[in-house]
Amino acid sequence: MDTPLAESGIIGTAIGLALRGYRPVCEIQFDGFVFPGFNQITTQLAKMHARSNGNLTVPVVIRIPYGGGIGSVEHHSESPEALFAHTAGLRIITPSNPHDAYWMIQQAVDCQDPVIVFEPKRRYWLKGEVDTEAPGHAADPFKAHVLREGTDATVVAYGPLVPVALAAANAAEEDGRSVEVIDLRSISPLDFDTVTASVRKTGRLVVAHEAPTFGGIGGEIAARISERAFHSLEAPVIRVGGFHMPYPVAKVEEDYLPDIDRILEALDRALSY
């Protein structure tokens, strides 16, 4: 349905619809425009179940196209997932391919908790196989998926950087390095078990996301994996991400966005220990 152009209004009325028993799916047109709705998402939507002592559920889904690489103007290329992942009560997922997107949006609608689906907008035109009969690895939207097995290092990525990580792993293979690639798929909850198991095998971890590294998901993964797999780590966990700056203008975004070479450089560093 069309709505008046007001993000707080979209989220706030969706909460009301959910209280009446509906399962609204909201669309925020671009990442940078979610902030007028930030109050409703963080102070209302995320807390409603807890503050009602479990009496109320608000199964609202919020779709947010996110990420850069499309040459767009200001506020159209951001990756604000960490701001939401920090808020208890929300679930954050991000599909990286058509099959996952097909299943994960439906699973988000089925979920009793509010779910934010971060959709990597530069993957919108990607074509890929979708098995509409069986979800396969996508049976659980909150589980990571090991896309490529390897023995020398692990690269964890999600959303738009998954194909970049895969390409980097393929390039590394030409240099004789065996790199495991994990598509995180879910950011909250975060499947630390799958990442930990991989790091126990490879001993090295690189985390890549478009969002700035400072205060980002990569830092959380680095800290948790250091606690869980300290004795397996042969090198510090290395993060590849955006810089601590407002998302830059489109003409220089190539220098901002992590690419194959930036991931390979991080792998080099991890493997140099």
Partner: protein, 413 residues
């Protein structure tokens, strides 16, 4: 034009009057016509639209409205005392706003759904919320305290105006339910319902109020916006929030706006009943501005003597909602001394119940917070709970020896 700049200097309602006159002179903005049926003198007047609603109030219902107002005022006194005695962390008094809350709450039907702010204790009473449960939030043992599904009275919302959007969304849900029922073709099971969104003059400046009125108007949602203009947003007077009567704002959204004497319980009841009928009949939203006054402090952490003169408070006390209804009931021979004595005794009984129950309000276990963060299992919450249990278990021996020590001390060893 200088005289039209927002004044942050205190000037009380005289400034309101002046500013509204200015608005009329500068913009052709009409002054608000305030609906009043029962004046401060206790005389019942007439209104071409609303008298027919007032006429439906039987003597018994009028006495009931008085008893409700007296009960909630007594409750307010008790809750304030409980805060002063350290039994509540904070209290948000409502004294002065009894007519606005009881009148509107009693006009609602069980199938209607109410979204309050955090001061609607009177409305809670009309929705049969256990008033002791209402105190859970203020005692710090719950962020809610009651199950809204039991009473259709939503939890208090502390982030100003956020609930106005929830109200409109809920009303949009009612519309969809009606369409689905019609499409199913069966006989209508549910009576038509509407929603009331409460907010105040301070919250009227929040963007969410604007957006909620835009959405309500666009979808013609069955919602009544009930603004209690109590003249003070903590220390900020209403004339800093608006240059026009708040009720006039409805015109900009394309639905009716009515200013009602918020200290006149008969008029508030009549106007709200009309507005709810209007909404339930599919005619769209209504804004009601109940012109009232917060006689006490914003909360127990506030001291209004710092920012407003007692003369203003005295002027409003003369418009007291209970006194005027008492005058009317006595003059018409609808209630006698026995009635008022009984109301007072009932109030004291309620206060004693609330005091007794407040002391017994159970402190929750933090495990319930782990349990209620998500509706479905979440591995991080499970992991942190497991850590917490293990951490707590580490103190098991320490605790019991400390308890034994205390027990020994009590036993005189």
């Amino acid at each position: 034009m200088g005289t039209h700049l927002p004044s942050t200097e205190f000037d009380g309602t005289a400034v309101d009057d002046q500013r509204e006159a200015d608005a009329e002179a500068v913009m052709g903005e009409p002054p608000a016509q305030m609906v009043q049926l029962l004046g401060p003198d206790g005389k019942l007047g007439a209104d071409p639209v609303y008298s027919q609603y007032a006429d439906k109030l039987t003597p018994e219902r009028l006495r009931g409205l008085y008893a409700d107002m007296a009960a909630i005022r007594r409750f307010d006194v008790e809750a304030t005392a409980l805060q002063r005695q350290g039994q509540l962390a904070l209290w948000v008094p409502l004294t002065g706003q009894e007519a606005a809350q009881i009148g509107s709450g009693r006009a609602s039907q069980p199938q209607d759904y109410i979204f309050p702010t955090y001061r609607e204790h009177g409305v809670a009473l009309t929705r049969n919320v256990d008033l002791a449960e209402l105190l859970r939030q203020f005692r710090g043992v719950s962020n809610g305290g009651w199950n809204p599904k039991d009473t259709n009275f939503h939890l208090y919302t502390l982030v100003l105006a956020a609930q106005t959007l929830h109200a409109v969304g809920y009303a949009m849900g009612i519309q969809r339910d009606q369409k689905l029922a019609a499409a199913a073709g069966g006989a209508r099971q549910e009576p038509d319902a509407a929603v009331i969104a409460y907010f105040g003059d301070g919250a009227s400046s929040e963007g969410d109020v604007h957006e909620s009125m835009v959405f309500a108007s666009s979808y013609n949602a069955p919602v009544v916006f009930f603004c209690q203009n109590n003249h003070w947003a903590i220390s900020v007077p209403t004339n800093v929030q608006t240059r026009v009567p708040l009720s006039n704002r409805a015109k900009g959204y394309g639905f009716p706006g009515i200013r009602v004497d918020g200290n006149d319980v008969i008029a508030v009841h009549a106007v709200t009943e009309w507005a709810l009928e209007h909404a339930r009949q599919g005619k769209g939203p209504v804004l009601i501005e109940a012109f009232t006054y917060r006689v006490g402090a914003h909360t127990t952490a506030d001291d209004p003597t710092k920012y407003r003169p007692s003369a203003e408070e005295d002027a409003w006390r003369a418009k007291d909602p209970l006194l005027r209804l008492e005058k009317y009931l006595r003059a018409e021979g609808l209630a006698d001394d026995d009635f008022f004595a009984r109301v007072k005794a009932d109030g004291d009984e309620l206060a004693a119940y609330v005091r007794r129950t407040t002391h017994d309000l159970e402190t929750p276990d933090i495990r319930s917070a782990f349990a209620n963060t998500y509706a479905e299992a979440h591995p991080l919450v499970a992991e942190e709970l497991a850590w917490f249990e293990e951490y707590e278990a580490g103190f098991a021996g320490v605790d019991s020896s400390a308890e034994q020590g205390q027990a020994a001390a009590k036993a005189g060893h």
